[in-house]
């Protein structure tokens, strides 16, 4: 069986700075993987290598068996199957919410206006924002903007969703709504790769937790093991700091 995502010996350097130093892992259809680790450990870079927003320096990335790192690959076509949600939402501020969710459907998938709007409204309803279709992003709270961003990605019918700290820019009281949407998505069987500091979410929803430090995977396994009973010192140190920020 082909894996949804397969990463082989992935390296990424920015100039002299080696950010990823040999990453190997796989994600299967329907799995939810949470990536945790200290700031600067390369989590975002890894995620951005999966849809080639960053070009790996070495190694291979396969999505659904297709090698995205192959020079002949149609990367635009491949990205349609991979949705991405950013820490800073990155909604298009000059477009209304509905247009944010329809523009790629229309321009990339060439869906007609009526169909695109129907798909958009369905997905906005799914994230609880059916009534915000006519608003501009700036008129929404951070939590609402992030849910629109999720709807925008889902409207492309992706097979895989990447989340890069989707709740880190949110006020604490708005985090719950976004996590609820993600939890529902996981229950529906979406394959998800989530960089997060929300240990509660990782513990409950993840099939596997990956702990990264210094550009390598230090430890990975089911949440009850990696979060509940970590084997590595570095994981323990990190978790102690995240779970109880007062004891630094």
């Amino acid at each position: 069986m082909t894996h949804m995502v397969e990463i082989r010996d992935l390296h990424k350097s920015f100039g002299a700075l080696e950010v990823l130093r040999g990453i190997d892992f796989t994600v299967d259809q329907g799995q939810v993987i949470c990536i945790i680790g200290p700031s600067g450990s390369g989590k975002s870079t890894l995620l951005r290598c999966v849809n080639l927003l960053e070009t790996p320096t070495r190694g291979q990335v396969f999505v659904e068996g297709e090698e995205l790192t192959h020079p002949d690959v149609d990367i635009d076509a491949a990205r349609r199957r991979v949705g991405m949600v950013f820490q800073q939402f990155n909604l298009f501020p000059h477009l209304k919410v509905l247009e944010n969710v329809t523009i790629a459907q229309r321009r990339v998938l060439k869906r007609g206006k009526a169909e695109a709007e129907k798909v958009a409204r369905d997905n906005l309803a799914k994230v609880g924002l059916a009534d915000k279709a006519g608003s501009y992003p700036a008129q929404l709270s951070g939590g609402q903007q992030q849910r629109v961003a999720i709807a925008r990605a889902l409207a492309m019918n992706p097979d895989l969703m990447l989340f890069d700290e989707p709740t880190s820019a949110l006020d604490p009281e708005l985090v719950g709504d976004v996590l609820a949407v993600m939890r529902q998505l996981a229950e529906e069987g979406m394959t998800m790769l989530v960089v997060t500091h929300e240990m509660g979410f990782a513990r409950e929803v993840a099939d596997r937790v990956v702990f990264m430090d210094g550009g390598v995977i230090v430890e990975e396994g089911p949440p009850e093991q990696v979060i509940g009973d970590p084997q590595e010192d570095r994981t323990r140190t990190f978790l102690r700091r995240v779970l109880d920020p007062t004891s630094s």
């Binding site: 990205r79 949705g83 950013f86 800073q88 000059h94 790629a104 321009r107 961003a149």
Partner: protein, 282 residues
Amino acid sequence: MTTSATTEPSGPARKTPGRTGLSPRQRRRISLGVQSTVLAAGLLLVVLLVDWPLVRETFLDFGATREMYPDLFTIALKNTVIYTLSAYAVGFSLGLVVALMRLSSLAVYRWLALVFVEIFRGLPALLTLMIVGYGLPIALGGPVPGGTVGAVAVGLGLVAAAYMAETFRAGIQAVPKGQLEAARSLGMSHTRAMFSIVIPQALRIVIPPLTNELVLLFKDSSLVSALGIAAAGVELTKMGSDFAINTADSTPFVVAGACYLIITVPLGILVRRLEARQAKAR
């Protein structure tokens, strides 16, 4: 008066340390007094020294301008507007292309664009206009397509494009990188993402400087007066100077000048409004 560096200044008599020992309020009052005295003295000098009847006769003798109407509006102002808008259209589209070339990942494009900008920002606009107006017909072995308007659109448009390219480039670079990334992550090609997502936002950012460029072009259209142009192609400055020479009076200059201000002042106010609105939206 005794001041001590070691004791804290206290009470309402607190003085800021200064050579004069004056309080800020006293100093401000003296400064205002000096400024208004200078202003009054200047006005007095102007009133006394200027030969007012001569001024009126030279600059405000509207009898000398009677012959200018209605051609001033139906020909000269109209032509000025046509030259300005056609050059602006060329400058806008060419400027956008050059800006995109400046940001291209292909070094050749970046280099070409830079050469273009440096040349047409560096040359005097009048010289560029003359090269196109006189030189291009010779090079083409015939008139420039579009006649005078075509030559002006190209000549002044090249100069405007060089400036607008830099404005567009700054606007495009002011759009956060995350916008392009979000668009690419949705499967848009680089070109698609630029035209659907980045450029519309960049245009909003550069509306005030682009409107300002329109004002500058409107004034630069007066350079056309230096080209030998048929009567039907006469614009405001040429018409003003022709009448000034014929009537040996400078009032036609003033009248032509007023026509420029009718357009440039409202545009200037518009630019300031747009800038204020953007500053508030930040």
